[in-house]
Structure formats: C-alpha cells, structure tokens
Symmetry: C2
Subunit: 115 residues, 2 copies
DNA sequence: CCCATTATAGCCATAGTGGATATATCTATA
DNA sequence: TATAGATATATCCACTATGGCTATAATGGG
C-alpha cells in the first residue's frame, strides 16, 4: 500500500499520528495531547476521535497494544494505541506535503519569515 | 474579524488563496494552477471550486475584479478573482499553522530532514 | 460546420467533524 | 461513606466540504 494514496489526511488523523508517535496513548490521553500541542486551539471532539481511531486501525496506521502500564497506574477502561511503521511513513509523507505548502506560501509572500 | 477564527481552512480554500496570491485569476485558471503547483496530485473538481469561490467572496477572502485583460486575450465567460488584504492575513495564519505542524513532526522524527 | 476544450454552475452522494447523549469507572473531598 | 466531578469509551444526528456527474454555453482549430 502506497502511503501517498492516503493523502491528504483528514486533520484529526494527522494529529492523532503525532500524538502516538513518541509513546503509546489511550483515546482520552490523545485528546489532551492534541489540546496541549496546539496551545488549546484544537480540541478534538470525542465523536471524531473514536471514529478516527477505528478507521486508522482498519488502515493499519495504528494498532491496539496488549501492553499495559503497571497495575497501580492503569485504568482498565483504557485502550492503548501505537503507531505502525506504515503509520510513520504516512505521517512523513503528509508533513512533507505541508512543508511544500509552506515553501510555496513563503515564495508568494504569504508567510512570515524570509520572503 | 480575527483571521484565526477561520482556521483550519478547508483544503481547497488554502490552495485557491495561493493561486490568486500573485495575480488575478479566473476559475478555470485556478484549477490548472493548483494542478501544476501540486505536481498533478491535487485536482480540484469544478463543484468544489465554484462553491469554494462563493464562500470565499462572502468571507471577504477574495473579490471579483472589474479589470479585464486586453480584448484580444480576454474571454467574456471568465470571472476574475483577487485576494484581499484579509485573505492574505488568513493565508499567513494558516501557513504558520502548517509550519508549526512540520516542526512538531520533525521533533518526533516524522519528517525527513534534520531531526 | 463540427467537435474538443474552456468556462461556469447546480445536483447528489459520501466522508469528516462537532455536539449531544449514554454508560460506566475512577478520584477527591465533604 | 456518600457524592460530585473528572476520566473514558462509544454511538447518534446534523452540518460542512468534497468529488463526481450533468447542464449550459462560448471558443477555437480542423
């Protein structure tokens, strides 16, 4: 499966990939991570999150893991997700697309920084 | 009106802003410009284009211009559009948002280039 | 004159999203 | 202990953005 075929990604999907890139996270932790990362400007709704997760598992962008934290830090309601190698490829392709858009905007004087 | 309030922009809207940033263009020319700029990967459908244009005029991101090219190069069917100062502000804000996403992806090892 | 291309526009179906609601568990505190 | 509020997952409905199709019409080359 070609990573480019999934581009452009839905906004929620890209943010979720960033959230699980450095460590496994459960759904609710993903919402909070995105809120922190965007400085509070993006608050993923629960509806969007859980449907996005379902789709992303089907697309093999993320997988649910069996590994749980130590029982004293765990919460049995949680379901943890991990990015897949394919998920990494897709995230790289999408951020490359963003980088290209930023370059074009700069060339047109539509971005702060060097013109 | 705060430019940030319109973010994140629909994908088509941002591409249209880039297309009319350097010169006035008519609808069909916008479609071709986007196709060229994205290396053929993004082909805006006519339906998306004209509905996006209507919305963007209502939001004061672009305006229809009276200026026409010399008659020998003109085509009376065409309607030309120009980016507004507010449209520039919004495009800058959106490309700033993209740049921030690329930075985060880089920090997570999810972008080619410097880690 | 004919036909492909250019050009704008409306219609219908689908995908992604937000907001509301439901259910249940965990945690702090009164 | 009781209970309120935060945590956690999930589903439903409505709305927006998009793609694809169709309609209409003018332009330009053979």
């Amino acid at each position: 499966m070609n990573p480019e075929a999934l581009l452009p990604l839905p906004a929620a999907t890209f943010h979720i990939l960033l959230a699980v890139a450095d460590q496994d996270r459960h759904g609710y932790a993903i919402i909070r991570d995105i809120e922190v990362r965007t400085g509070g400007t993006l608050r993923l709704s629960a509806g969007t999150l859980y449907r996005s997760i379902q789709r992303m598992v089907e697309q093999d962008l993320i997988v649910e893991t069996d590994e749980r934290p130590a029982p004293e830090f765990d919460d049995e309601r949680r379901r943890y997700y991990r990015i897949t190698p394919f998920g990494r490829q897709v995230a790289k392709a999408e951020s490359q697309r963003f980088a290209s858009l930023v370059e074009q905007a700069r060339a047109l004087g539509l971005a702060p920084g060097r013109p």
